[in-house]
């Protein structure tokens, strides 16, 4: 059964093509530096948005009639989704996917039932993966949709809920391992609070740490070697999520001696909801050696909720890829399109178009970032800006070979008005960025 019959394999046709079902910029095999675009970008399809999303929102009913949902039986629907998913990925040339347990298999009345469904579906997924070469970037378990998780999962006030969450994660890790998943993600859906008036925050955070200890112990036991990832988000659905941003997660991990077991999965739209730029969160993770993977989407900074739009802003994709290149790449992580087409973009063509938009935007972003780094224009300016730390007084500071008294003694003699620092040169740097953004094609 096929679902995208209107679609051939999406091809690169170059910047001049007006064909909405072709790539203007993404060429899987094009070398950018030493790696191909595909190797750099490691695109992944998000099963939930691309297959499950139906266009409903808090004010409206579904708008999207997805043919793979037109089956009475829930397992039939699940199987149809697999067909549609792999057809879509194959035609788009996307080599990875990500899923929650409930995206691929119907939830039962008991964990046992859910697990059985999941096992069956995992077999089918495995076959499809072998047939197509498509791989699993990461798996995860949905611990927020079922009503038992209304007050959290690992941070639920009800111990039975904690146990259910444990059971689901156990199975999801097993399935991820079975499918060769390269990572496993924790997004703290409702791990947070609605009001402090009813919340024992200390117990909840302690329990969250306990949950992770249990998971790590089990993963080691079964030999799951994938990278664990935590995905920060500041709010929504809860008023306050414990994994507010990268810094909050790091504070938590360091408190409970968990830092070595995790990296971060950074989502653009979550970064901005937390009051940070996407690049900030990537940079912060990178210099803390915690940049694991990316949820590639974009938000609307004038809106206060997670709009999960397909990435189109080339400033964001360029600066994100700048951080990724500086990080030496993302592997075993990748760029997962945690993005959905707008409610009014209800046709299958829109779904394809959304992915093309995202892939082209990141392909161009990769080129811009590569061009920027190649030119060393930014690096030279930074280098010159901080050069005082490479000699004399600055070296002493950096080598931790001085004291407050010595520094005070040295500083006594300075005439303050004569201390020179370089201009921050923000305007110049923004012009450089624009030049590379517009001109990178020519400069390669």
């Amino acid at each position: 059964m096929t679902y995208f019959d209107f679609l051939e394999t999406v091809e690169f046709e170059g910047p001049g093509s007006k064909n909405p079902l072709a790539f203007n910029y993404y060429q899987a095999d094009k070398k950018i530096g030493k790696k191909t675009m595909a190797e750099h970008l490691r695109f992944s399809m998000a099963y939930w948005h691309s297959l499950t999303e139906d266009g409903s929102d808090p004010f409206g009913n579904p708008t999207m009639d997805r043919p793979w949902n037109n089956y009475q039986d829930s397992m039939d629907r699940a199987e149809a989704k697999v067909e549609a998913a792999f057809e879509l990925m194959s035609k788009l040339g996307i080599n990875y996917f990500c899923f929650h347990d409930v995206d691929v298999a119907p939830e039962g009345a008991t964990i046992k039932e859910s697990n059985e469904n999941l096992e069956k579906m995992a077999e089918l997924l495995k076959k499809k993966m072998e047939a197509t070469g498509i791989k699993l970037l990461w798996g995860t378990s949905n611990l927020f949709s079922h009503p038992i998780y209304m007050h959290g999962a690992a941070t639920s006030p009800q111990a039975k809920v904690f146990a259910c969450a444990a059971a689901k994660v156990k199975k999801a890790i097993e399935v991820t391992k079975y499918l060769g998943g390269e990572n496993y993600v924790f997004w703290g859906g409702r791990e947070g609070y609605e009001t402090l008036l009813n919340t024992n925050m200390k117990l909840e955070q302690d329990n969250l740490a306990r949950f992770f200890y249990l998971v790590i112990e089990y993963a080691e036991k079964i030999g799951f070697n994938g990278q664990f990832l935590i995905e920060p988000k500041p709010k929504e659905p809860t008023k306050h999520q414990y994994d507010f941003d990268c810094a909050s997660v790091l504070a938590f991990l360091r408190k409970y001696d968990l830092e070595g077991y995790f990296k971060l999965n950074i989502e653009a739209n979550h970064a901005t909801l937390a009051g940070h730029t996407f690049q900030h969160e990537l940079r912060y993770a990178r210099i803390n050696d915690m940049l694991g993977s990316v949820d590639a989407n974009q938000g609307d900074l004038l809106l206060g909720w997670d709009t999960d739009q397909f990435p189109s802003n080339l400033y964001n994709t360029s600066l994100a890829m700048y951080e990724v290149l500086k990080n030496g790449g993302l592997a075993p992580g990748g760029l997962n399109f945690d993005a959905k087409v707008r409610r009014g973009s209800y046709q299958l063509q829109d779904l394809v178009q959304g992915h093309i938009l995202g892939m082209d935007s990141f392909a161009k972003g990769l080129e811009v970032a590569h061009s920027l780094i190649n030119s060393q224009e930014i690096e030279d300016l930074i280098s010159s800006r901080y050069k005082s730390y490479q000699e004399g007084l600055g070296s002493k500071i950096v080598e931790e070979n001085t004291s407050l008294e010595e520094l005070a003694e040295i500083a006594q003699s300075f005439k303050l008005s004569e201390i020179k620092t370089n201009s921050g040169s923000q305007e110049k740097l923004e012009a450089i960025l624009n030049r590379h953004l517009l001109g990178s094609l020519n400069s390669d």
Copy 2:
């Protein structure tokens, strides 16, 4: 020389008084539980706002004609400020104050000159403190106003600036010690960035840690026993401040093994600029044993800058005092009015009125918080909500005496629809809060 001749000592006149220069709620000696209001609240005047502020803003010139500024010579002005400060505190019954070096002594062309000014002023302050019994809650050094700090102080790209900052902090700690200051605060004025394009974030954060190492070493050497405090703020003046919020500071301190040396100084308006409630930041600090002191002001959640208003919102003061009482108090910290009267409240009476508003609001907040805790209504609800962790399955989890497999085994048997969790009861809790807010006077 006196400056507030219109003002007698401000007295408690009770809730019915319409005298704007009397307290409606604050009674220094009234016992709330085992301590007096004064002991609980430990109010402090902020030298910069109360003495130095002149009503100017980015769009307008000064509006406030403060008589203590009408002296030609800068040291004369500094001395007049001391007179005014102690007169104001004495008449208000405020027992503590806080200052930056530059608030009390004019800055010179060199650090040496500045230090000499500061030493002279410290002597005068000490005399006044001895004469009045008023104490120093905390001292600090202004590392953000002088142009040399335009790109940061400890995180400046220029090593000489780092040295100047070191010299200033050295002197400020010495002066704080000399005056018996109970704390010393670091607010990271421009420790952050304007654009990532010009920023070596890793070096800057490493240098910030190095700066703290130097300070701690020196403080130990000279036997300064005050508590070091870090004051988070997310943005303003810079686009991004490294000490974004409590969690960011904790992530930093834990990374550099600095946690034991610091506590947090939490400002209401900074909390909300970071996207948190004031109570959230207090709670978070408290459960991490990091609640050190409070900058008692309030912001306007519809405005995106630090308005530093005098606290008037009784919800905020009640919930803040709830956390403070749960913390066993703030000492050696206190409630510092990091607050300024509005630009249009340009008269001396307004300055007095602002402090009375803040003191009354926190006095009432203390009563409400005490009443809430006394009634145990919230505590009982929370207790019942989490009771599943006190036995059986929950105990195993909390005592870390289980495994993912065991939990999964247990959870297999649950029928999901039969797992019961308590309602979150937010509406009921908000009604309880209102009842105590309105009725606490009667219930004591």
Copy 3:
């Protein structure tokens, strides 16, 4: 059939009562000035939130098991809802309700079918209204949930959708008239845009005006005398809603000569999403003689979506009632609880508790506002602040009896530093507000 068997009629038990199912402050018959609380407040239940809401959100499934929904047949469910609605209102002492067409009658495959359902349900509602004395505050039509409205209703790019919207509004007005509804509301659900790239904003706004012309013509024809209301909201579900705030609506109405036909229905949470305080929107509507009715809820200013919480903040309810009293009341409008219990407040008791919270909060707000106005403390200060416009120069300005040249001539002689304006006295006013908030009970 009854649904709230755990509940007796909710009674006033006074501020000291800890009974969560009693009023602490609301006494329907208590006189505040010349009217009773019930006459001032004109509380209304929102059919959609109170009967239809199931606790689902974009990240989770329903949590609320409402017994009136446990019927197979959609008309049976609709009838059960009526039973539950009138039982709830009767027990709470709420005298008004509001509904969308789809809240009370199932939507059909055609407008004709929907209308037939609606007519049947209207008969049942009428009987219940007659039996209980409960009245209809306003009716409206849901023009945003069905997928045909995905790009708007009156502003849809598809003319057939415009026609469907017209047909639905026609019927909804007829039903509102039939039930004696005192108002009819237009909330512009999806009248706005997702992206300007695909939008003909001029045509859409012209069409919106055309829609209103048609409606007004028809209402006059059938003799519907209820007040038409427009409810502003800035965003959500769309990126930008045309009825952004009160000022946007007024700009629109004045452009199309529609001002005389409408008043505004102001929602607290919509005000703050637009960057205004609730009081601002009420004040702005009031001085433009456009204050029609109120959607009484509250938002969370740190969250960027419409949380529709039950009102609990006494500052908001006091300042809202201050504007309402200044307006001479709201009639024929009222205070409609466009509010829902939190997803975790999933029990029927919570639903009752939410309404009690809202009613008590507005009852207390009414008392505070009355006390404030009675005391004239604010009015006296304002009066004194603007007194220069009551004589001499100021009178000339206000009476429009001067010229730029005359004013310039007069102003030439002023020494700027000698022009005196009163202090804004914000701190003093905030203290007055707190005093009345806390003490109003005693002062009456």
Copy 4:
């Protein structure tokens, strides 16, 4: 006397040039459609930011040592500023400037004194304008910096302040006329409120209208033919500014029958502070025939204050120029760089670089917008989206040739599930935008 000796006339060197003091994209004489870039863009320098700004902010002292400020006498400084201003504009090829009265002439102790200073400076400006051919885009009067305006100018509670404002505006209009200014701007600096508790909003808004009546009368009397412009801003310095956004201004103008006398001066950063995109405000003004002029800058959407950055974001400049081209241009308005270099960009080179960045960004934006419109890709999609209004049912609606009954009758027959509307195609449109942004150079 010259101040920019390091600078030759800034030349176009093309996209490949790394010379930071050359244009990459702006070519004054390049034809884009029928007009040159210079004719389309009508760039203007903002006197206040470019000449007066010193790098101070609420947390810090000046950083910028501008040589033209190094004169003892205030009139000498004013004259030096003129020299610097015209040198800078001449070298940059900027043909217009804008100023407030206080930017060009020192304020005196009386209006009379200020006027005399202004007259003298106007003569000097006129000479410079004649010598260079540079023209005045608009003049205005600063009614917010002097302390007498602390509570507003035309909306001040003090009638004398109203009179001073009248006197200042009278003179500023005279000077604008004398200099051949093509527009005159009103930005409502402090026309708003800090708290509603002390505000008579109705009187204040009535007075604002009275102020405009007086101004219009006088302008007609003296034959000033320039366009009056109002510049919306939502907040800052006051908590709420009456001219919140374009819609608020239109609501006001329409209420007081003032619409025909004004157009809007739209600032990018003010738009976003009000919760709108820059394009939204331009579009809204355009379809209301109110698009007068533009303050070309950009804000940071994660910051809550007016950062007034030089425009660099090509999405914003492209979509702004799209609206400008659709408007048939801006004349007699223009693009005024109401923008300042960052505090850390303290050198004269940065000031030049900022303007180059802005000019290049708008030049490129113009090219992209032209390319977009030329291709008609967006227009075709919109046209097809709304085509149902061009025939049959849709025509009846648009021609206002139907009734609610007729529409309801027609709609009865529709099967809702068969009504087809086009996809919103947002993803496709965003891809088109990117294609033109990146490729417009080639397509010309």
